[in-house]
């Protein structure tokens, strides 16, 4: 029973200064919490943006490459038409450069002039001549990469105004290069070599092909091992295993394994796969096996979660129809949990893709100048390639390191996008 006076009192309670102050405090609390959240997100987004901007700033230079386009006179006295592979291409290149600068005659000057082109220029000209022997006796026009120092000069990474002694290239060399540029011989096209070349000592030639192929093989092995094993283990634990002390211990240990530092898995791989089983060092097979060990706990946890998410009504429906346990699992539960499993798998593989430490321990940071031809060939992976480049002193590797990181990030973004796509596309609502 509420009498009018009660109502007045209760209205009074809500309008006292204390009550108003309390409401204001409460509102302020909401605003503070919201503000903290926005602040945290801004910080995270800001740092991520800073990372991407700095990587982009450092790395964009590696996505273009300074090329020098010259006419190379392939005279018959330098190259024998009967045996083009044995020709003296060093001299062919010198001829081409001297044709541009006839005043250069001394041996020292000629060496300095030669340094404009990459060290491997003679092999590139040789390959071009072998591919097209009809040019012997005539000239062939080729775009060859400038050597790293001139690449950096062209990209304004070499200060022109410091004394000559503080640079690795002389004033004379800069003059020659500028002259070539004035004559239109210098261009900076997109650097396909970054994707299609394998590693090299010379930054202007170093590329990610070996690392990309090695990564592909290692991730493939990792997937082939961890996907079926992870699903089988998860199905047993989720659907068959009795609840007892033993399965509890297994479960706790799987959860713990997911938190073990990856370098430990590298040590395990080194001790077991390399030393005990004698598998080859630096091989994508071993890398994939180590990554599979590392991914497996995550895979099992994710798969169990996906299996658990299948509603019990579907299991009951199948069992009530007289399906046996394996029929229930294979016909109904597993297909329904596949989107979740695939999403988890891709996230797990993306994690493995970026893993460096365990691969260093099994020697996947070797210097490999051609892409691996198979699972047992020595190779690198993207993160270990980045590691190698980050360790190299040449100026050109600085940009290439950043570019390598950008390529790795691009792979990760693509894989995560695929996971999101699969989840949206295949997810079933009950």
């Amino acid at each position: 029973m509420t009498s009018p006076s009660d109502a007045a009192i209760s209205a009074g309670i809500w309008s006292t200064p204390e009550a108003q102050a309390s409401r204001r405090r409460r509102k302020r609390g909401d605003l503070v919490l919201q503000g903290l959240g926005i602040g945290a997100i801004s910080l995270a987004v800001g740092l991520l943006g800073l990372l991407l901007v700095s990587l982009g700033y450092l790395g964009y230079r590696a996505f273009v490459q300074t090329m020098v386009t010259l006419d190379f006179p392939v005279s018959t006295e330098r190259v024998d038409a009967a045996n083009p592979a044995a020709g003296n291409y060093r001299l062919v290149i010198r001829d081409a450069l001297v044709a541009q600068f006839p005043e250069v005659t001394s041996t020292g000057d000629l060496r300095d002039l030669n340094a404009i082109l990459t060290n491997n220029a003679q092999f590139m000209v040789r390959d071009a001549v072998i591919a097209d022997p009809s040019v012997i006796g005539g000239t062939i026009r080729l775009s060859l990469p400038a050597s790293d120092q001139f690449d950096q000069l062209n990209k304004n990474n070499v200060p022109r105004d410091v004394p000559e002694t503080q640079r690795r290239i002389s004033d004379q060399q800069i003059l020659w290069f500028d002259t070539l540029a004035e004559r239109g011989a210098v261009s900076t096209p997109f650097n396909w070599g970054l994707i299609f070349n394998a590693d090299s000592r010379f930054p202007e030639l170093a590329g990610l092909a070996g690392a990309i192929v090695g990564t592909f093989y290692a991730i493939l092995v990792c997937f082939l091992i961890s996907f079926p094993v992870g699903i089988a283990a998860a199905i047993y634990l989720e659907e068959f295993a009795p609840r007892n002390r033993f399965t509890d211990i297994v479960e706790v240990n799987i959860n713990n394994l997911a938190a073990v530092p990856s370098v430990v898995f590298g040590l395990l791989g080194l001790a077991v796969f390399l030393n005990f089983f004698g598998l080859p060092r630096s091989a994508p097979l071993v890398g994939g096996m180590v990554l599979a060990l590392m991914t497996l706990p995550t895979m099992i946890i994710v798969t169990r979660a996906a299996l658990k998410a299948v509603p019990p009504s579907i299991r009951e429906a199948a069992l009530g129809m007289g399906a046996s346990k394996h029929q229930m699992i294979l016909h109904h539960v597993l297909p329904l949990s596949m989107p979740g499993i695939l999403t988890g798998t891709i996230i797990g593989l993306a994690h493995a893709l970026g893993e460096t430490a365990p691969l260093l321990l099994i020697g996947m940071n070797a210097f490999i100048t051609s892409p691996p031809g198979g699972l047992l060939d020595a190779s690198t992976t993207l993160p270990t390639q980045i590691f190698i480049w980050a360790d190299s002193p040449e100026r050109g590797f600085l940009a290439r390191t950043a570019a390598g990181i950008l390529v790795l990030l691009a792979f990760l973004v693509v894989m995560n996008a695929l996971a999101i796509f699969l989840r949206q596309r295949l997810e079933r609502r009950w």
Binding site: R315, L319, G320, M321, G322, A323
Partner: protein, 284 residues
């Protein structure tokens, strides 16, 4: 199999319809027939909890048996003993004997897969597989090897859907997902799926509790038609439903089977005080 029973099907005007009184006529009670299922002193524990005490009930052949009682009284637990669905719950333990056609269904030699094919089950919430309507019905015959050829499967699917009174509504969209049907249609699809493997017994665990009144009426009609050929046990919250569809009723209370008898008698002249209190709405 021919449906000889008069049906109350509203959308089938060509058939002569016979209206059926709320409870089936008493003389239709197949008292002379041997009970299909006999249970003797069935006890169930969930871990430490004793859920069902000494339940002894005989279930008649080709009739509808209803289990009624308040929530948590053990009627669903008992129903799930009959096709051993309680086996899927780790902590559940069943004692006592349940026989189907004189054979103990808890015999270790008995194949539970075969038992569940012979004793089909329809659940509280319609749970069609997230597959096409056709695949839903075809699944049982396929896994039990009842149909070798595609045409056989098709024949079974069509006849099952017809028996479940769903065929006319879905015949043009058998490829569409079963989950896209309305609740009542989904439940009839689940019934069609169950009868596709030609079971002897159909267990129904509150089959209408998730349905609206019109869909409920449709499913009740169907139950009434199906009892000509199948032994049906239905667990229901609704006393009106038990009165409408069943010939015999058991009342459960606190894990004890209090009273079993012809539905008429349970609802008009209960012997036990607890039954009377429940029927008259004093609890539950």
């Amino acid at each position: 199999m021919v449906n000889v029973i008069g049906s109350r099907t509203v959308n089938d005007s060509t058939k002569p319809t016979v209206s059926i009184s709320v409870a089936a006529p008493q003389d239709a009670m197949p008292a002379a027939r041997e009970p299909r299922i006999r249970t003797d002193k069935v006890n169930v524990w969930y871990g430490e909890k004793h859920a069902l005490f000494d339940v002894t009930v005989d279930i008649p052949d080709r009739a509808v048996m209803a289990f009624i009682g308040p929530s948590g009284c053990g009627k669903s637990t008992f129903l799930r003993c009959i096709n051993r669905m309680n086996d899927t719950i780790d902590s559940a333990r069943v004692e006592g004997s349940i026989t189907l056609d004189g054979k103990d269904i808890y015999d270790p030699d008995l194949d539970v897969v075969e038992l569940r094919a012979r004793v089909g089950m329809v659940f509280q919430k319609p749970n069609p597989f997230p597959k096409s309507i056709f695949e839903n019905v075809a699944y049982g015959p396929r896994i039990h090897g009842l149909a070798r050829h595609k045409t056989d499967v098709e024949a079974i699917v069509v006849s099952s859907l017809k028996k479940a009174g769903l065929f006319e509504e879905v015949k043009d969209r058998l490829d569409e997902p079963g989950t896209g049907l309305s609740g009542g249609q989904q439940q009839r699809l689940c019934i069609a799926r169950t009868i596709a493997v030609s079971p002897d017994v159909i267990l129904m665990d509150e089959p209408c509790s998730a349905l609206d009144p019109i869909a409920t009426a449709r499913v009740e009609e169907l139950i009434d038609e199906l009892r000509e050929n199948y032994t049906i046990i239905i667990v229901t919250h609704s006393m009106q439903q038990a009165a409408r569809v069943s010939q015999r009723t058991s009342f459960f209370h606190l894990g004890v089977m209090v009273e079993t008898g012809p539905t008429d008698q349970i609802f008009t002249n209960p012997k036990d005080k607890r039954t009377q209190d429940y029927i008259t709405g004093r609890f539950g």
